[in-house]
Symmetry: C2
Subunit: 683 residues, 2 copies
């Protein structure tokens, strides 16, 4: 039984889904680049040329599975053909800002002796080349075209330049230090950034924002004094077809520019931003634009001047427009100093209330970036109704690859399953069932889960989340199980197929398992408050100003967001609003998000709420114990370092799942007084 | 109406209870120092001489109340006479280590024309001199002798050298930065230390430990590399008759000495400590000794080597004995990684279990330092039974002047009332009622509440706690209301008597008020966990490893520590054990500490537990609102800066008391479902 020889060593980071043996498959092809002369030295073409050379080198030096059969087909040729459009195109005007997904599309054409990748941009060829890794080259159809769902497929980094006293270097980062910064400045050695860019490009990611939206003073200066450091990072990403963005502070005109106001309608403020971006683009001509969190959780914003979010976003959009830059303006705006006594305020309503009334007033190069749910990246929450409420605004759908509320990369939690379900969601189940959530945004964004961790993501298996995010942003209809199979095949090429099947079994069920042993039935939170957000604390947020309550008492639990409660349901299109409003039709998994019900309420499953809580928590722990036993049996078939790393984290997952189970069951037993029908131990 | 002219300015700290006008009273006396020649240059005599000079200067320059009458008596003389014992004394051997309270005693003898202070040490004269400030000199009895209850009256500082990332510079410090350290080292400018020493000496405090018992690496080195910096502090305290102590880490032989063990029975380890203290005493000949927290909350200790606390303490005692130094070994030892599911472990039992079996085995210069209660400085808890269980061991009774669990110097909470009640407590109410807790220890210790705050203690009125601690350690039988009157008279000499009466009314009831609006009936904690410990969080510690639970469920609340529960009651002498064990005889204020009872249990007060919770919390808030209204009416009679400072803090106290009331009432209403009989608003 052969071990994967690509296991990382202490001196080199883990190769993730691009180990040399995987790449070697392409090295067996005789490859030709067919590029118009004026693009022969394009940085992405230069990168592609280097990839081809390395693949060929790997093919001749690396033992890899399928080599024998590959050798019999070495006469097969691969041609990468760049066919830029000539003459006038009929592109809509918006593409000048948002790009055109067809620019990234590649076509694969095959004969028994040839494979041809064609595309109209260097990026398209790069994506097509990496795509070949995911296919069985012997069964490719004669021709297939692959076009991404959106032109903008982005990752956001919540990296701080220095270690924040509360949040650490990466806010909600669970994979070590930042790959971009150390000691308050951009790293001298950016090798990891280059490796990261390659991983992202292999998935078709084409935009990256490199600093935390909670912008500390040193990070704010990246936009001005330290733009040359940003340029070093942008130069690396550029080689991989990725545009670099910065998170900026709305308070910059005052804090950096010395102005007396940040008012978006103040001509001096507008001029400051215009001048600032002119300077940025003189150094980074393909700078992507900015991400901004304004009037949210203490960040400055337009409200101080009686202006709207549209006023703020449009001011920045105006300053960026001459350079074709874009604004990602986050809709994560709510009252974080709410009084818990006030049952009329509902944080879930906030994004809609702040943004929907301004639909149609945002500039063409402004994108309103909305978290998938109305709360904050819980393991289960409904889809934000704001997506259905702004048809005349560019929207971005924001995910969280970093596992803030889903186990913090200490728990196995494959999120591809969740994201796929979210992307396939429709607001109009009978009237327009084929328009899914994924059809709405012009951009996908997500918070990255990467750091200086040798495995990139802390937990080795959390790499699959980064992979799945990239794949789903390209094709939201892709099956998350298929994506997982792809990732396993690429990442563990020397591992027996049976082991990969076992891993697939664990990971494909892991989100469901995580949901089982944590907050039940969509009620959310119940986590340790503050910087932690890890492990159970059922009342942790119950009397806090954060707007995240469960209202459990001796009789029942859940938040009444129906028409008798906060009326959040009516932010949805009527058909869905009716469904959620009615306890008979509200899906079980969201029942406590929308309704306050007695513990004795019987779910569609036939169980009472209290028995559901008991059962799912015991089941969840049993599943994790099963993962652990199953994993232990894989010892001889997984690279040792990966095996040990995952084993250590599984031990913690087992401990933490027990803690969730026991606190949750004890808490609700103490409140309800209703015993478990199975008589299991509750403390 | 005259304002107090002694209000501090930005450049000088508040004079506390020693404003110039107060001191001026003594300046009106014609004073003579009668000192044997060989002690004429003793540092404390030099200090006393300087005080007399300053008082005389103040008398001639400062307008002060009573001046007119004082002037009529300027012919009265004050003689301070030092009468050191000659020849052999019959002091017990232990006094070589612990000192003799009679050495600090002073006698006041008066005639119409003379006042004489006599004592056998310089300290005694200093104490007698300051004592005159507290008396109406016209009504002094012909003769009175004043002897402190113990020879050791000590303050501990939990000051870190650097700002700790979680705990700040002073652990549980609410009065700004450390007066001793800045930026990882002893301050160059120690003016505040000198002022502090004078305040302490005026109360008879004679020992100070200057660094946190949670000893960080830089602080550990105070004992070795940086002992010369400690010597600078010790030189200041020496002038005021105060001996300086250090907190040390049990791990020092390894961490500082490079040894391979900290085993207290290892000769090399013993030699390291011996050598280290020899070096310390060569620099600080009157070094007081050490304070140590071992095998507690993560600090190293003797358990790692299978040794007992006595083994550890005696090793250090042996090394200190040649120099007459003492060890304060803290009994605050418990399992802080307890499993909340485990109802058999009771943190309250821990100190007794760890220490009582070793009674009689501690060295003569070792003192076991025990917190007043079995938990941790709650506003209400029973007295630690360990005090009654170690008759053959030197014990110290530890208080907390810093208001960790009593409002953190943002709330008015005069603790003299609590400490007096504690000191007057007896373990033998019928068999030995006149032996009080205060009769047991050889030393009183407390955590100081002082920092670089202009008011020393953050909240100006929190100065009274420092004052009361000093006064009670000298005379535990003193009435805490009288002490408060003393403090008010000294601190606010120009304030109308009616204002002082009003302040007395507020402060004397403030501990009772604080108890009313916080955790009820002795159950304790229910505070925000971790570094905060401020404000309510009823379940904050309920599922934690810290051993501080309330076990509230839908039926009842409280901890069963009776003979049907953890049997903690049986750590008390039988008479008390029976009283606490029986719900009929257990005092109401401790009922939830000792019993788990239904919400409908009727207290001796005639109220049910749930109605008591509702009523006390509404009453507590009403009291604080009353304080606020009353304070507002004092605006014209209190120095402006003090008035504003207290007003600001009262606003926070009002807010926080409401938060306590509403969270507590809501939590218990949700659990119990029992409405308030008065129908007040519960959320």
């Amino acid at each position: 039984m052969s071990l994967d020889t690509t296991a990382h060593t202490a001196t080199s980071p883990h190769p993730a889904w691009l180990p040399p043996t995987t790449l070697a498959r392409l090295g067996d092809l005789t490859t030709t680049l067919d590029i118009p002369p004026h693009l022969a030295d394009h940085p992405v073409i230069t990168t592609l040329r280097s990839e081809i050379t390395h693949a060929a080198h790997n093919a001749t030096t690396t033992e890899h599975p399928g080599r024998a059969s590959a050798t019999t087909t070495t006469s097969r040729t691969l041609t990468l053909r760049l066919t830029p459009p000539t003459g006038a195109t009929n592109q809509p005007a918006s593409t000048q800002f948002l790009g055109d997904p067809h620019d990234d599309a590649y076509t694969l054409t095959t004969t028994p002796d040839t494979i041809t990748v064609t595309g109209r941009t260097p990026n398209a060829l790069l994506y097509g080349y990496f795509a070949l890794l995911r296919h069985d080259l012997t069964t490719l159809p004669p021709t297939s075209k692959h076009t991404p769902a959106t032109a903008i497929r982005m990752l956001d980094h919540w990296d701080n330049l220095s270690v924040h006293p509360v949040m650490g270097q990466i806010e909600r980062g669970y994979a070590g230090d930042s790959i971009f910064y150390t000691n308050g400045a951009v790293r001298e050695n950016l090798t990891r950034v280059a490796d990261y860019a390659r991983l992202l490009a292999s998935l078709g990611i084409n935009h990256v924002a490199i600093n935390n939206v909670n912008v500390e003073r040193d990070a704010a200066r990246l936009l001005t004094d330290n733009i040359n450091d940003v340029a070093r990072i942008a130069a690396i990403f550029r080689n991989w077809g990725i545009r670099t963005h910065l998170s900026v502070s709305f308070g910059s005109p005052m804090s950096l520019g010395g102005l007396t106001s940040n008012d978006p309608l103040d001509p001096q403020v507008r001029q400051w931003w215009a001048d600032t971006f002119t300077a940025v683009y003189s150094v980074i001509p393909d700078f992507g634009g900015i991400v901004i969190k304004a009037d949210s959780e203490g960040q400055p914003g337009p409200f101080a001047y009686g202006r709207t979010h549209a006023d703020g976003a449009n001011m920045l959009a105006e300053a960026l427009a001459p350079h074709h830059g874009i604004v990602h303006w986050r809709a994560f705006v709510y009252n974080h100093t709410q009084d818990w006594r006030d049952r009329t305020t509902d944080r879930a309503r906030a994004a809609y209330e702040h943004f929907a009334p301004h639909d149609g007033t945002f500039a063409d190069n402004a994108i309103v970036q909305i978290k998938f749910g109305p709360m904050d990246f819980q393991a289960r929450e409904p889809i934000s109704p704001t997506f259905a409420a702004m048809p005349h605004t560019n929207l971005s759908l924001e995910f969280q690859v970093t596992q803030e509320y889903t186990g913090q990369q200490r728990h196995i939690c494959y999120l591809g399953t969740q994201w796929s379900e979210i992307m396939r969601f429709t607001f109009w189940p009978t009237s327009n069932p084929h328009t899914t959530l994924a059809d709405i945004p012009v951009s996908f964004t997500a918070v990255s889960n990467v750091g200086m961790s040798a495995y990139w993501t802390g937990h080795p298996l959390a790499q699959a989340n980064l992979y799945a995010y990239g794949r789903l942003t390209w094709d939201p209809t892709a099956d998350p199980g298929d994506i997982l199979t792809e990732w396993l095949t690429l990442t563990f090429p020397h591992t027996p197929a049976a082991t990969r099947t076992t891993l697939h079994h664990i990971m494909a069920s892991s989100w469901d398992t995580y949901e089982k042993y944590t907050a039940p039935l969509g009620v959310g939170f119940m986590v340790s408050p503050g910087a932690a957000h890890y492990g159970p604390h059922i009342d942790g947020y119950e009397y806090s100003p954060w707007g995240t309550y469960h209202f459990a008492d001796r009789d029942g639990v859940g938040v009444d967001r129906t028409r008798t409660g906060t009326r959040f349901v009516d932010q949805y299109p009527p058909e869905l609003a009716d469904q959620y409003n009615n306890l008979d039709t509200c899906p079980d998994e969201l029942v406590l998000f929308f309704h306050h019900v007695p513990y004795t309420h019987v779910l569609h499953s036939g169980k009472t709420v209290i028995q559901h809580i008991y059962d799912t928590h015991f089941e969840g722990v049993d599943k994790v114990l099963d993962y652990q036993r199953t994993w232990d049996n894989l010892r001889d078939t997984i690279p040792t370092a990966v095996f040990e790393e995952v084993s250590t984290r599984l031990t913690e997952q087992v401990r933490c799942a027990h803690e969730w189970r026991d606190q949750m069951c004890t808490y609700f037993f103490r409140k309800s007084g209703i015993p478990d029908t199975h008589g299991r131990t509750i403390y």
